[in-house]
């Protein structure tokens, strides 16, 4: 008995299928897998992502890279780093010019610029800001005809219907004044705002700590007396001795002693202008409960403003219509012209209209969307490294053919950060100033083959460190002069790690011949504290064990979570550990301070996790810290680095190398590891991007139809059996 397939796929079903396909293809002229709305495709928008919701968007608190991605585009600190020039150079942003310090003795007498550090009691920076800078449109600044603020006294009925800032129909703006910068510095000092740099600024700015105490006390009183109402403390009412407004466009900052690194802080969002109106507006009861706070809705004067703030889905920056204007730099370093980095010289910034950041937690979808053209740039995760990058027979790094075909380009840069293996100098075995422990640390430093580590675990993305200062930072020595003679030999003009026999000889000198403690006759056991876990961590830890085993040392791994790890570091109960540091600013002080005695973690809670203390080094550090870059400072740094290499409180680890990929429609790409506000320099070609997206993503429907036919065909015998059973008598 034959069976027709007509009842299964009748004409209506075919019609439905065709209609569905037609509907899908009629969804728009963009690709089916385009994750963005149809009207976005020709827009001058950069597409990127964020993996984790930023914790703080208030410049008084924000201090991490995932926060700076946003706020560095929104807020305008006084200074910024030149986009193209290297070494990194500070140029004005909110300020009219880079301020210079004036020095005074303890009697208030002006001192010359080259005055001895000991004589300098006060450094003063008189800062002029650019006139005409205006804030982004914002309801906090909206005023009525009489000059009163429209939204500073909101009733419960209004607040109850507000969900985002866009719910306020009117916005306003005003000019940025010197008082706004001063207000923000006062916010840094106000303890309830928890600025991470309050401590370091308290050590420098005159009257900073006293201001904090006074404002904190007043704030407590305000909260107690006004439990239900606003808890905004108007910081304008309190004087901060070291910071004073001179006129509408000028203010002065007075520091205790000499602190040349202060200007670098002025390039961070901590020193952005903040209108008092912002705090007055956001402090209204009820807004915080609706997540409408300064921490989530910034108010800045920068080139962009936060147009959409949905940290669970998407953050969108849009061009600030009130941006005062800035132009693309006209000069750079050698090679920039040839690389096309000066093609946009003198053109007004920013080039793009929007930057859309989508929440993308996993690297695989991100990578695939980058390859489809839906993200403009990408890093390279370990999973996709081989797909993106290959080494030639000569060992040179390059893109794979697939990447080249798509026009993708690669940019690499050694980062201004370091990963190091630290020895706890307070530990009786690996620490201390004795020759025994010094030999032991040096032996381990030689045995730790960081070149191998970089190759295995970082896909070659890193440079073994010869000292604490990364390339690109003043004080770093390159070439022969930069080699650490205690760990490396110079062979054929290149550093070569010393042989294991040298390390073993050092072990003998340390009293641990073949890893056996001469005093006890027992094997030397060291403890390595780490937060590594999981399969990746296991491979790393096995490698680590292997390095110590080369010297006969038994390494015991003490894995814990980051909380416990930090606690061990604070209490000094760790022995050997690995940690890292990312530079705040491009000055050697920001790396050498991690080995300065008074910064030790155990005694002072500082960043010197190795608890290294050497009076000679400390004295040189104090001297170096206050010097201007120049031959004398370089000599001092050389002396300091030599002391460190000799004492080996760290095995120097490595400087990671950042690899980034970008499409050919993405212009003006130059790694700038200190600047965070580089979005304004970026330019894209949306027409080329749209065309390539379509070329790369044509919908392929035939497998679906094939699958459907296969299913139908396979169902035919089943249908036949079914019918037979239906017609047969019940069993």
């Amino acid at each position: 008995m034959g069976i027709s397939i007509r009842p299964i796929i009748d004409d209506k079903l075919w019609l439905l299928l065709l209609l569905s396909a037609a509907l899908l293809s009629a969804c728009g002229d963009s690709a089916w897998n385009d994750p963005y709305p149809g009207d976005d495709k020709h827009r001058n928008t950069i597409y990127s992502s964020f993996t984790e919701r930023p914790k703080h968007l208030d410049p008084v608190r924000a201090y991490s890279a995932n926060e700076y991605v946003f706020i560095a585009q929104i807020y305008e600190p006084l200074l910024q780093y030149h986009f193209l020039k290297r070494p990194y150079e500070l140029v004005p942003l909110g300020a009219a010019e880079v301020p210079k310090a004036r020095y005074y003795d303890d009697q208030g007498n002006r001192l010359p610029e080259d005055a001895d550090n000991e004589r300098i009691a006060v450094s003063q920076y008189e800062i002029s800001i650019k006139p005409g800078m205006r804030y982004q449109p914002h309801p906090a600044l909206a005023q009525d005809e009489a000059g009163g603020y429209l939204y500073h006294s909101l009733g419960e009925d209004v607040i109850s219907v507000v969900n985002t800032l866009a719910d306020f129909p009117r916005t306003g703006s005003r000019e940025v004044t010197a008082a706004d910068y001063v207000y923000q510095i006062k916010r840094l000092a106000h303890p309830p705002l928890h600025s991470p740099i309050a401590g370091i600024m308290g050590d420098s700015i005159e009257g900073f700590s006293q201001f904090g105490e006074a404002s904190d006390l007043a704030y407590e009183q305000l909260k107690q007396s006004n439990g239900i109402g606003k808890d905004w403390l108007d910081l304008r009412l309190f004087d901060l001795k070291g910071v004073e407004v001179l006129d509408r466009y000028r203010f002065r900052v007075s520091l205790r002693g000499k602190y040349p690194q202060f200007v670098y802080w002025l390039a961070m969002p901590f020193f952005s202008p903040m209108p008092w109106e912002a705090e007055a507006f956001y402090s209204q009861p009820g807004l915080g409960e609706r997540n409408i706070s300064l921490n989530w809705y910034p108010l800045g004067s920068g080139s962009f403003m936060l147009e959409e703030n949905n940290p669970n889905l998407r953050m969108v920056l849009a061009k600030n219509p009130n941006f005062h204007g800035e132009r693309y730099p006209t000069t750079g370093e050698a090679g920039d012209q040839e690389a096309g980095l000066l093609d946009d010289a003198e053109k007004p910034l920013p080039f793009i209209e929007k930057a859309s950041y989508s929440l993308e937690k996993e690297s695989i979808p991100y990578w695939n969307k980058f390859l489809q053209g839906y993200y403009d740039t990408s890093g390279i995760s370990s999973d996709s490294f081989d797909q993106a990058v290959q080494f030639s027979a000569q060992g040179e790094l390059g893109l794979t053919e697939d990447m080249k075909e798509k026009g993708i380009q690669l940019q690499t840069a050694v980062t201004t950060s370091i990963f190091y293996l630290g020895f706890n100098m307070a530990d009786p075995v690996v620490g201390g100033d004795s020759d025994r422990s010094r030999h032991l640390r040096r032996a381990i430093s030689i045995a730790m083959d960081f070149e191998e580590y970089i190759s295995i675990f970082n896909n070659g993305r890193g440079v073994a460190a010869q000292g604490p200062i990364p390339p690109g930072i003043f004080g770093n020595r390159s070439g022969n002069e930069g080699i650490n003679p205690y760990v490396y030999d110079l062979k054929n003009g290149k550093p070569r790690r010393k042989g294991l026999e040298v390390a073993k000889q050092l072990m003998v000198q340390a009293g641990y011949s073949n890893g056996i403690d001469e005093a006890t006759g027992k094997p030397l056991i060291l403890y390595y504290d780490t937060t590594s876990s999981g399969p990746d961590g296991k491979a790393r830890l096995n490698w680590m064990r292997k390095q110590f085993t080369k010297l006969g040392i038994q390494l015991v791994i003490r894995a814990s979570d980051y909380n416990r790890f930090q606690e061990k570091m604070r209490k000094g109960t760790g022995q050997v550990f690995m940690w890292g540091w990312n530079a705040d600013y491009p000055d050697p002080e920001n790396f050498l301070f991690m080995l300065y005695g008074p910064n030790s973690k155990i005694d002072h809670g500082g960043e010197n996790a190795a608890n290294y203390e050497n009076s000679e080094f400390d004295a040189l550090f104090v001297k170096m810290k206050n010097m201007e870059n120049g031959p004398e400072r370089q000599r001092t740094i050389d002396e300091m680095v030599e002391i460190l290499r000799r004492d080996a409180p760290w095995a120097w680890g490595f400087f990671p190398k950042a690899f980034s990929l970008y499409h050919d429609w993405y212009k003006n790409v130059k790694p700038n590891l200190m600047a965070n506000n580089t979005l304004k320099y970026k330019r894209i070609d949306p027409v080329v991007r749209d065309q390539k997206r379509r070329d790369w993503n044509p919908p392929i429907v035939w497998p679906i139809l094939l699958l459907f036919i296969a299913l139908v065909a396979s169902a035919i015998p089943a249908v036949r059996v079914f019918r037979q059973r239906e017609r047969s008598a019940a069993r």
Partner: protein, 325 residues
């Protein structure tokens, strides 16, 4: 029945209290208030004073469970546990440790979770029952054998494989839908197609096999034999009698998970970039945000208890022999 429901709700109070204590103890065994403060204040340049200030402002400077320095009831009420937990019973989740309103975040994030979970449940249920009936119909044939083998293979494969495989095949190779992302309103449909397909396919193996077992159990019962003896066709037997009776365990199994659909799926939401509740708790644990962890565990417990009560009620609806007392 009303008395029964009230009694069950009253039973829930000590259970929720116990869950709260357990969450509290487990959280603070791993994290101290100092750790939480340091995590919130950032990794760099955190001073001990800032840590103390942070704890004081958020009430984490109190003892955990028992306050020796207080008197009377204050020994129990002036503690972190009491201060932080009592509001939960009023469904006042408060603010996260980073300052965001938890209730608002939950209300925003539960809808995307539901937008995936509900179609996966409904379509999955329909497909699984269809396949299970088909296999049961062809019991003891090659279709049954290979159907079960396929189910075992499918249920043995990790859910992550389906996700990555689905993204690779449907989005990367065939370019039919976006790999990941989300949008609001109707714009969300194209982002939901792939996770729903993946969710449904990923659940077919276990679902079909489980329902097949239920159907086969029913098929061997006396009333089915009687129906066949009366000359009913196999289709009528399956759809009119077997399916109806097998629906009791199926329905109760579905009802119990209904309230939990809001809670989302961690892996699916992470890989598809869906801003649901699935990753909310895990993110909070990673950020050591006790306020969110506590709220989400409490909410999960409440929804689970609600699911159990709904299951009991559904028993009485689908099986008239069951009476709640």
């Amino acid at each position: 029945m009303t008395a029964y429901i009230i009694r069950r709700i009253l039973y829930a109070i000590p259970i929720l209290l116990g869950v709260n204590i357990l969450t509290f103890v487990l959280f603070f065994v791993v994290n101290s208030p100092d750790d939480m403060a340091r995590m919130n204040l950032g990794a760099k340049r955190v001073s001990p004073e800032a840590v103390e200030n942070w704890k004081r402002e958020r009430g984490y400077d109190l003892p955990l469970l028992y306050n020796q320095s207080a008197t009377g009831t204050g020994q129990f009420t002036d503690t972190i546990f009491f201060q932080k937990s009592l509001k939960l019973f009023r469904f006042d989740f408060g603010s996260s440790d980073s300052g965001r309103d938890i209730g608002y975040d939950i209300s925003q994030r539960m809808w995307p979770s539901l937008a995936i979970a509900l179609p996966v449940l409904m379509v999955g249920l329909l497909l699984n029952i269809t396949f299970a009936l088909l296999i049961a119909f062809f019991r003891a044939t090659y279709i049954d054998f290979w159907g079960v083998v396929l189910c075992v293979v499918m249920m043995s494969i990790s859910g992550l494989f389906y996700i990555i495989g689905g993204q690779y095949l449907i989005s990367k190779l065939m370019h039919l839908v976006p790999i990941s992302g989300y949008d609001t309103g109707l714009g969300s449909i194209k982002f939901l197609i792939l996770p729903v397909i993946v969710g449904v396919i990923g659940g077919i193996g276990a679902g079909t096999r489980w329902y097949r077992t239920l159907f086969l159990e029913e098929i061997n019962k006396d009333y089915v034999r009687t129906a066949r003896a009366k000359g009913l066709s196999e289709t009528r037997v399956l759809f009119r009698h077997v399916l109806k009776n097998a629906m009791i365990p199926i329905l109760t199994g579905v009802v119990v998970v209904l309230p939990l659909l809001f809670m989302g799926s961690l892996i699916t939401e992470s890989f598809f970039g869906i801003p649901g509740l699935g990753s909310y708790t895990i993110d909070a644990i990673n950020r050591q945000d006790f306020a969110i962890v506590r709220a989400m565990v409490f909410l999960g417990s409440v929804l689970y208890i609600l699911g159990l009560i709904m299951t009991d009620i559904s028993y009485t609806i689908v099986d008239p022999r069951v009476r709640l007392s």
